[in-house]
Symmetry: none
DNA sequence: TTAAAATCGGTACTAAAGTATGAATAGCGT
DNA sequence: ACGCTATTCATACTTTAGTACCGATTTTAA
């Protein structure tokens, strides 16, 4: 089935070309009969044919044009991130007036750890961590750990 | 200079076309004079013009046609150390293979916004944001928005 | 013209986060 | 000794986040 379809597609342009040519010839004959084309108008007659069939040729060519496949070699740069200078903004950190334990919690919190993970690492209960975290949010003037992390990173008060 | 050259290149085909057309008309006139073309041979006359100018059109089209180039990208990894800056690490960002919307969500997520806030800013439903966020976590290989923010900041894939 | 994504949205559920409040203990400075 | 803060932990509760499904378009790629 696809084979017949391909043949049709390949010969479609030729068929269309033939049809248009036939219609054009009929149209010319009609004009010839209607206006009794003068002999000295041959140049105009030829010119019209030339223009029309030139355009037709261009159209046919664009339809038949096959895409040229061209392989292009592209180099892809892969960046290697190096642990850049870790400078902590001590001034901003002092402004927050955090307690020692709150500071500990903040360190782990900004590393993306959950309350349970922080509790495990600092040997605290989940309740205690929640308390510290809540107090942290008040001192940092944020409403979620997401904001806390963003602010801590932005102010560089954590590595 | 290159500008004039471009104009010449672009008009070259038209010039050639005009010249060929002129020569063809002269040839026709010569044939007309030489063999005293009969009135009832108009169809043959028109047919010749049609065929010739169709071929001419095809030729012109092939000359003017821009070659359709099918690029095949071959990646060659080149390792480069990142010039420690505040620039966004596009390379790491590409590795994540995020979709457009996921990228949008990530931008707001890393600013500390909640799902509800993101939904409001991007005019999406909460469900959609949750879907995007979940997919983000898979692609970023993290398990919470806190880790996502931390990783995004660490890899500098967000301002 | 398929097939694979991306996009948007929904429901239902579990897990985690966050709030509020209270309470016990230890240390520190006046 | 007293007040103050820090630290620890608990209970109870509400809210948010997160997962796991699903379906319907739409866009894109092969």
């Amino acid at each position: 089935m696809t084979h017949l379809k391909d043949i049709f597609i390949k010969t479609r342009h030729i068929t269309v070309y033939g049809l248009i040519m036939a219609i054009f010839v009929f149209a010319l004959k009609w004009f010839q009969w209607k206006f009794l084309v003068l002999d000295n108008a041959t140049e105009i007659y030829a010119g019209l044919i030339a223009i029309c069939f030139t355009l037709l040729g261009i159209w046919v060519a664009t339809q038949l044009a096959k895409p040229k496949i061209e392989k292009v070699l592209v180099e892809k740069e892969v960046y290697v991130t190096l642990p850049a200078g870790i400078e902590i903004n001590e001034a901003e950190l002092k402004k927050l007036n955090l307690s020692g334990r709150e500071h500990d919690v903040l360190q782990l919190l900004t590393k993306g750890q959950s309350n349970t993970e922080i509790a495990g690492n600092l040997f605290l209960s989940l309740s205690t961590v929640k308390t510290h975290v809540s107090n942290l949010f008040v001192k940092m003037d944020v409403k979620s750990r997401a904001q806390a992390i963003e602010k801590a990173k932005r102010l560089k008060i954590t590595p």
